[in-house]
C-alpha cells in the first residue's frame, strides 16, 4: 500500500474538516478578546447546522434549489447573530455568570435545532450540499493540490477568515476597541469606548461565525443534518481559543491538529488497523484535556477581564 497516498487521503479529509472548528474558534476568539466567554457556541452551531441544511431540504427539486445553500448560509449567520444578541442580553446587560449561561444557550440552541428538525425533516436525509471547487492549476500540484486546493468555496472562505480576523483584530480601530474592552473595560470606558456596545458587536460577529461553522458542517462536510452533528465541536472550538492563545494563526494550527486527530478514525479504517473505533473517536476530546493541562504553563495570558461582567456604576 502506498503510505503517501493514504496520508494524502487522510489530510484531504482532515484539512477541510478543520473549517468548522476554525470558523467557530475564530468567532469565539472575538468574543473572548472582548471579555465574554461564550460556551453557547455549541448550541449556536447546532442552530446554524440546522438552518443551513433546511433550505436545501425544503427546496430540493425546485427551481430555487441552486440558491438553497446560499439561503441556508444566510439563515445560519442570522440565527447566530440573534443568539449572540440573546447571550449579550444575559451576560452583558444582565451581567449573569457566563459559564453557566453558556450551558443554557447550548441547551437552548441544541434543543431548538432538534425540535425543529424532527418537525420539518423527520429522519436523517441527505442533501446535495456544496460541491468542491478545485482551483484550476493549483489543484494539480502533487500531494498538496488535493489537500489544499480541492475544497468547497465555503472551505476556502473559512481559511480566508484567518488573515481577515487577524487584520480586523489587530489593525482596525474596532479590533482595538474589542481588545480594550476585554483587557481593561474601565479604561476603555473612560476613553469613550462603549463597553457594552462593543461586547455586543463582538458577540454578534462571534455568533455569526459559529452559525456559519454549523452551516459548514451540514452543507459542506456531512451534507445532512442530525441532532448530534456538532458533537462537541463547539466546546472544542472554545478550548482551541485557549490553545491558540487568542491569536488567529495559532488557532488555525490548533484547528488543523484537531481535525486531523478526528480524521484519524478514518485512517484506522483505511489501513485496517485492529483498534477499537470508540478510542479513535475519543482522541480529539482527550487531546483537548491534555492541551488545556499544558497550556496553563504558558506565560501568555488571555484577555485580563475574560469572563468578568463590567458594571460601570460599580465603585472601584
Amino acid at each position: 500500500m502506498n503510505l503517501l497516498l493514504v496520508l494524502q487521503n487522510i489530510l484531504a479529509i482532515g484539512v477541510p474538516f478543520s473549517v468548522a472548528l476554525l470558523l467557530a474558534a475564530l468567532g469565539e476568539m472575538f468574543n473572548q478578546r472582548a471579555g465574554v466567554f461564550n460556551l453557547g457556541c455549541e448550541g449556536i452551531m447546532a442552530m446554524g447546522a440546522f438552518l443551513g441544511f433546511l433550505p436545501s431540504f425544503l427546496l430540493k427539486g425546485s427551481a430555487l434549489a441552486p440558491w438553497a445553500p446560499a439561503i441556508g448560509i444566510a439563515c445560519a449567520a442570522l440565527a447566530g447573530i440573534l443568539l449572540g444578541l440573546l447571550f449579550g442580553l444575559v451576560t452583558v446587560s444582565f451581567r449573569a455568570p457566563q459559564g453557566i449561561a453558556g450551558i443554557g444557550l447550548q441547551m437552548l440552541g441544541w434543543g431548538t435545532a432538534g425540535t425543529l428538525s424532527r418537525r420539518f425533516v423527520g429522519g436523517v436525509t441527505g442533501i446535495p450540499g456544496i460541491d468542491t471547487w478545485p482551483i484550476p492549476g493549483l489543484s494539480k500540484i502533487p500531494f498538496l493540490g488535493p489537500i489544499l486546493f480541492s475544497m468547497t468555496p465555503f472551505g476556502y472562505f473559512g481559511f480566508l477568515m484567518v488573515p481577515i480576523s487577524w487584520y480586523v483584530l489587530f489593525k482596525t480601530p474596532w479590533g482595538l476597541k474589542v481588545r480594550a474592552v476585554g483587557t481593561h473595560p474601565r479604561a476603555a470606558d473612560t476613553m469613550g469606548t462603549k463597553v457594552a456596545r462593543t461586547r455586543f458587536q463582538a458577540l454578534m460577529l462571534g455568533g455569526a461565525m459559529a452559525g456559519l461553522a454549523g452551516a459548514y458542517l451540514s452543507l459542506a462536510q456531512a451534507k445532512m443534518f442530525a441532532d448530534d452533528i456538532v458533537a462537541g465541536r463547539g466546546f472544542i472550538a472554545v478550548a482551541l481559543v485557549y490553545f491558540g492563545r487568542w491569536h488567529p494563526l495559532y488557532i488555525l494550527g490548533g484547528s488543523l491538529l484537531f481535525s486531523i486527530a478526528q480524521s484519524f478514525q478514518l485512517a484506522i479504517q483505511v489501513l485496517g488497523i485492529d483498534f477499537p473505533y470508540e478510542f479513535a473517536v475519543m482522541l480529539p476530546y482527550v487531546l483537548v484535556i491534555l492541551v488545556l493541562a499544558f497550556a496553563k504553563n504558558s506565560r501568555l495570558r488571555g484577555p485580563a477581564e475574560l469572563g468578568k461582567p463590567y458594571n460601570r456604576e460599580k465603585r472601584v
Binding site: 448550541g43 444582565f94 449561561a101 450551558i103 443554557g104 437552548l108 434543543g111 431548538t112 470508540e278 496553563k296
Partner: protein
Amino acid sequence: MNRTYRTLYSAAIIIAAAAAAVGIGALVLMAIGVSVPETYRVILTEPFKDMYGITEILVRTVPLILVGLGIAISFRSGILNIGAEGQMQIGILAATAVALALPDLPKWLLLPLVLIAGALGGALWGSIAGLLKARLGVNEILSTVMLNYIAAQLHGFLLRGPMIDPAELQVGSGTPQSMRLPKAAWLDRILTGYRLHWGLAIALGLAVIVYFLMWRTTWGFRMRAAGAEAKAARYAGIRVESCLAAAMILAGAFAGLAGAIEVTGVHRRAIEGISAGYGFSGIVVALFGGLHPAGIVPSAFFFGLLLIGADMTQRALSVPANMVLVLQGAVILSIVSAKTWLNDPYARDKAVRKMAALFGGGRK
C-alpha cells in the same frame, strides 16, 4: 413601605424570568405549529391523570435529586460540574461490573457494594476534572464536557465489546447491553406493577445529609466559603484547591450513585441511554432549586414532571421530546439573569425609589 416595594421588585423579576422562559418555549412551539397552551397543559397535567404517570415522575425525580445535589455541592464550592452525564455513565459501568462479577453474594452485601461501586466510579471520573482544576487550573467546564464525550465512547465500547450480554452475541441481534443483573443486586420496587423503587428513599435521605454536611458542619462551611469568595477563604487559611477537588469528587460520586440506582432500580442491566440527559437536567434542577437541598427536591419533581410530560406530548401532540432541552436552556438563561437583578442592590434601590415616587411612601 420600602419593604413592600422590595418584595414587589423581587416578585416582578421572578415573574418576568418565568414569563421569559415560558415565552421562549412558546416561540419554538409556535414555530413547529402546535397549540402552545395545549402543549403546556399536556406537559403539566397529563402525567397526574393516573398512577402510572405519578410513579413515572418519581422514577425520574430520583436521579434528578441525586445529580442535582452533587451539582449543588460543586457550584456552592465554586467549581462548575457539567460532567454529571459522564460520571453517571461511569457509575453505571462500575455498578454493573461489580454486580455481574459477584453474583453469589447475599443481597444485604451485594446491593450496597454495587451502589458504592457506582458512587466510586463517578467519583473517580469527577476526580480527573477536580484534580486538573486544583493542580493545573484547567477550566473545569471544558474538561468535564470533554470527559462526557470520552465517557460516552467508553460506555459504548464496553457495552458493545467486553461487557456485552453473551446471549446477544448468540442470537445475533447484538444489542449493546450487559447481562441482566443478579436478583441480589436489585433495588426493590415500592409498588408492584410500577417502576418506582426505593432509590427514592435513598435520594431523600441524602438530601437531608447534604443539608447537614454543607450547612451544619465546619467542613461544609469551608467548602461554601471557598466557593463564595476564594480570596477571602484563602486568607482565612482554607485550602481552596483541596475544596475544589473534593467538591468535584463528591459531585461525581452523587452522579455515579444516580447511575448505579438507575441500573439496580429501573433497568437492571446496563444499556445505552440510561443516563438519558439526567446529567444536564441535573444542572437545571440544581439552579432552579436554589442550590439548596430543600429546593432541589421539589425542583427535581418539577423537572421529572417536565420530562415525562414531554414524552406524553410527543405521543399526544407529536411535539418532539427535545422540547425539554429548549425549556431547560430557557430556564437556565432566565434564572441566571434574574439572579443578578435580585442580588443587585443598586438596581433594587433604584426601582424602589421609582415605585415610591409613583405610589407614595418614601425613603427613610
